[in-house]
């Protein structure tokens, strides 16, 4: 069975041209590999902001009240072996477009609480979650800003009981090396 990758591109409209080119080159390489790749450009999807209603936790467990693109995105994510996020750094953090999507991931976890490393976290809803990969266009930002972004994704991995398998900035990895890293997962 071929591996499945969900690739979420959080580059906004009028975003980073360098990141667009990076994606183009990476996808050209990945398309040659025997993977089922679902490449999602958030800018072309209809995604509403999370409103904190918790319907996905206590009214329609696992399902958001918003009927928009997140339905198919969540289905793709939870059935993938690898979930890749990409975004430029805008105002010191990843894009609001990607953050909007990130907030809408909570239907994938359960509201029940458990203790992990002396911290409170939510339990899994699904038996398995994908490994995570992150690609960031630093666009001149400093290492402290990149470190903050790295930490946020490592917290997502903690909540997904998964791990961040790779975290790269576009100026620190070649397309070939990244492709090899992805296919080795």
């Amino acid at each position: 069975m071929s591996k499945k990758i969900t690739f979420i591109n959080g580059n906004p409209e009028n975003g980073s041209l360098e990141l667009d080119k990076f994606h183009e080159d990476l996808l050209a390489e990945l398309k040659r590999e025997p993977y089922e790749l679902n490449y999602i450009e958030l800018v072309n999807e209809e995604i509403k902001f999370c409103i904190g209603c918790w319907d996905c936790w206590w009214k329609t467990p696992g399902l958001c009240r918003h009927d928009d693109s997140m339905n198919k995105i969540l289905r793709s994510i939870i059935n993938s072996d690898l979930l890749v996020f990409s975004s430029p750094v805008i105002m010191g953090f990843y894009s609001a477009l990607l953050k909007k999507c990130h907030d809408r991931l909570i239907p994938l976890v359960h509201p029940y609480i458990e203790i992990v490393n002396k911290e409170l976290h939510h339990k899994k809803r699904y038996p398995e979650y994908p490994l995570l990969g992150v690609i960031i266009d630093p666009d001149g930002s400093g290492k402290n800003e990149i470190e903050v972004i790295r930490t946020v994704f490592s917290r997502l991995a903690l909540n997904f009981k998964s791990e961040v398998r790779f975290f790269h900035t576009t100026d620190s990895v070649t397309i070939k090396d990244l492709k090899n890293e992805i296919i080795s997962i």
Binding site: C50, I51, M91, G92, D103, P111, L120, E145, V148, L156
Partner: protein
């Protein structure tokens, strides 16, 4: 001093953030300050106007709940709309609160806010962190006495000194990780089946208890 307030909760007026805003404002006004207006970032169709209000404010309070380990999307959207600007040492207070106990959940977004305040050349009076905030709006004032007293003090210190007391902020936040007693308490509640009482109560209220473990995308 005139304070503009930015409520970054996706729940808008019916939010725990609003409770904190109200108490901070009372302390601020008690010392002669004026709260000009509260802007609800959930009304993101107005984000351009709100960004202008922030840039033109004499002083500002931006408050939001923690969403997936950082700011809610509507707040990031607002930050991007403000963009690069010179705050000219505008006095600002940030506040972030999380449903979970333990300050650790807010540590990363606090680092971000510190960097943001430098980027915007703000006079950062302090970052208020309040873990365990879920349900604050549902509690009577008698249950929130300590929080109310602290938020009043933060509001009054902001106008009096332009700075919040670091020890008071630390005490309000509490420890980053659960203490031994808290861990024991949670383990005990787990053991007797009470730790998820709040969720089970609401699942039953919505007739969804039998579906609580649904995994609809598999």
């Amino acid at each position: 001093m005139k304070l503009s307030v930015f409520n970054g909760s996706p729940r808008g007026k019916n939010s725990n953030s609003q409770v904190f805003i109200d108490q901070f404002s009372r302390g601020f006004q008690h010392e002669g300050g004026k709260v000009s207006k509260t802007f609800y970032l959930v009304q993101n169709q107005n984000v351009t106007d709100y960004a202008t209000e922030f840039m033109e404010a004499e002083a500002a309070l931006l408050i939001f709940p923690l969403y997936t380990d950082s700011m809610p999307g509507i707040v990031k959207y607002f930050i991007e709309e403000v963009g690069d600007f010179d705050g000219k040492q505008k006095p600002v207070v940030f506040m972030v609160h999380s449903g979970f106990s333990g300050g650790i959940h807010c540590v990363t977004v606090v680092k971000y806010l510190e960097m943001l305040s430098k980027k915007w050349n703000l006079s950062l009076a302090g970052i208020i962190v309040k873990p365990g905030s879920e349900g604050t709006r549902l509690k009577p004032d008698s249950w929130n006495r300590r929080m109310i007293k602290s938020m009043h003090r933060f509001g009054s210190d902001f106008i009096k000194y332009g700075k919040l007391d670091a020890k008071q902020l630390k005490r309000f936040k509490g420890p980053d990780q659960l203490t031994g007693y808290q861990l024991l308490g949670y383990k005990l509640m787990n053991w007797i089946g009470l730790s998820n009482m709040y969720w089970n109560m609401n699942l039953k209220k919505h007739g969804a208890y039998a579906k609580r473990f649904d995994a609809p995308y598999h």
